[in-house]
Amino acid sequence: MTTEASTGRGGLWLEALAGHSAKTVMDTRSILEATVNLGDPSEPVLALTVTPDPASRLPRAAHGEFGLEQAWTIAARIRQSINEDAARGMRRPILAIVDTPGQAFGRLEEQQCISVACAAAVDAYIAARRAGHPLLAFIVGRAISGSFLAHGLQAQRILAINGDGVIMHAMSPQSIARITRRTVEEVIEQAASSMPMSYSIENAHRLGVVHTLIEGISPEAPIPASVSIVKEALCRTLTEIRDEAKRGVRYAARVKDNPSRVGTATIERLMREQWNPDHLKRNQG
């Protein structure tokens, strides 16, 4: 097993869930994969994570960021797995284990169109889901902005540990602190007053963005008891995804009873009512 210093939380959880060492994907040292077996009889799940690579040839992606190499690797690996499974007549579930500080910010990254690389990863995850691979995401650390869009947010279900350092946001508190010249503590405290602005994973759960919170385990140390709790939760979620896919549940159904999502629910209802031109005639009497 690799050490925490080199793998970060994503790698630790990946290896703990798999029960064996992870391997690097397509020679990209910061992308790790392993097979996680879920359920009884067990079913193989392709699990992927992004991890720091201090010796990264692209320095802006050395700390676990989602950069050009990471994005194209994830896109290529997901496409490969879609093709492999299609040839074998199966659709393995895919699990994105999430702990990244964000996308890589840099001049070279923009010049080389990091938006295309990240979009290719998004596109590949969507293609996998549409081909019938159940997609799960499991947040064990930071779920931030573009890196989370490209690795995690296309999942049908997002699970998270409710524990220290597990956060979701569009910008890291460190970045906002630099831009607004406040301390990280001040940023986190002020953000807490607004539910969608909050870093708290509990608020992301209330909003329905994170579907399942796993309580009472440490995100930093995946001890065997924690691993079985997580595997059980993942297994239950897999069943839910498949049930929902069979029933063809619409997005509107998921938000309609959530008091924090009145805005979304209202738009869902009005957009559908007004979609066809004859609603005007109906309204006029």
Partner: protein
């Protein structure tokens, strides 16, 4: 009162979201869906001391362009920098999903996205992110049934999660005033330091992320003059091509190999130490 025909307005980038739609749709005619009179603004801005807008800065209409039935969506750059929050995000996603439903019911309808957006609205961070993820999924879903055309005409440009959304579209049209990039120059400077990128160096920025540069790189599909007739013509040409899978997203493995061969230095650039702007929590 004198009415100025939109087509005679020389520069498209000065038009508001509704004016842009009127200028691009056949006969200037459209029907707005969930418009300002439905009064669905963001529920999250007022508690943060900001004034919401009754359309949340997103205009969704149905009409025709070059004779094709279209759902056209314009983001109003003048409201909160074109940022995507809960309501605006839901409007875009729901409209695209309904267009796909319509296509599946043998009533084909294409989509036009006028994207002037800084990306996620920071005040609605997590709902903005979730909204953009759903927009991305809806674009890919519709793209297989009908063309989805994006226009980046400036002055705001298209950044963050919305640059990924643009990239997922069948076809991207840009003008000399449009910029398309994942991270805005100011954000890069802030995160990585002025040595990485000087956000005040306008020439450098336009060479890096301006639509003309993006066209030469093959990231966007058409580069046209900043006026409505030119943009409308390019939209018509894109729609006439029908359903396609964007080439820019394909061949990930080859792109990875190309990146390693042509772009990445052979050795680690630093010693592996974090020098500036480390993100470690």
């Amino acid at each position: 009162m004198t009415e100025i025909p939109f087509a005679s307005v020389s520069t498209f980038q000065e038009l508001s979201a509704r004016e842009r739609l009127a200028a691009l749709l056949d006969g200037g005619q459209f029907r707005e869906l969930v418009g300002p009179f439905d009064r669905v603004g963001s529920p999250w801005l007022e508690p943060q001391g900001l004034v919401p807008q009754s359309d949340d800065g997103v205009v969704v209409v149905r009409g025709k362009t070059s004779g094709h039935a279209i759902v056209a969506i314009a983001i109003e750059a003048a409201f909160e920098g074109g940022s995507v929050g809960e309501v605006g995000g839901a409007k875009i996603a729901a409209a695209l999903e309904l267009a796909a439903e319509s296509c599946r019911a043998d009533d084909p309808i294409a989509a036009l996205l006028l994207l002037e957006s800084g990306g996620v609205r920071l005040q609605e961070a997590n709902l903005g992110l979730a909204g953009i993820a759903r927009i991305q999924s809806a674009i890919v879903g519709l793209r297989e049934l009908a063309p989805v055309v994006a226009v980046v005409a400036g002055p705001t440009g298209c950044f963050g999660g919305m640059s990924l959304a643009a990239t997922l579209c069948t076809w991207i049209i840009g003008t000399a005033h449009g910029r398309l990039g994942m991270n805005g120059p100011e954000v890069i400077e802030q995160e990585a330091g002025p040595d990485e990128l000087d956000a005040t160096d306008r020439e450098l920025i336009w060479k890096l992320i301006g639509c003309e540069a993006r066209y030469r790189q093959g990231l966007i599909d058409a580069f046209v003059a900043d006026n409505a007739p030119s943009i409308a013509k390019a939209i018509g040409a894109a729609l006439a091509q029908g359903v396609q899978t964007p080439v820019r997203l394909q061949n990930a493995e080859a792109r990875l190999a190309g990146l390693r061969r042509d772009v990445m230095p052979t050795e680690a650039a630093g010693t592996g130490k974090v020098t500036t702007g480390g993100h470690r929590a």
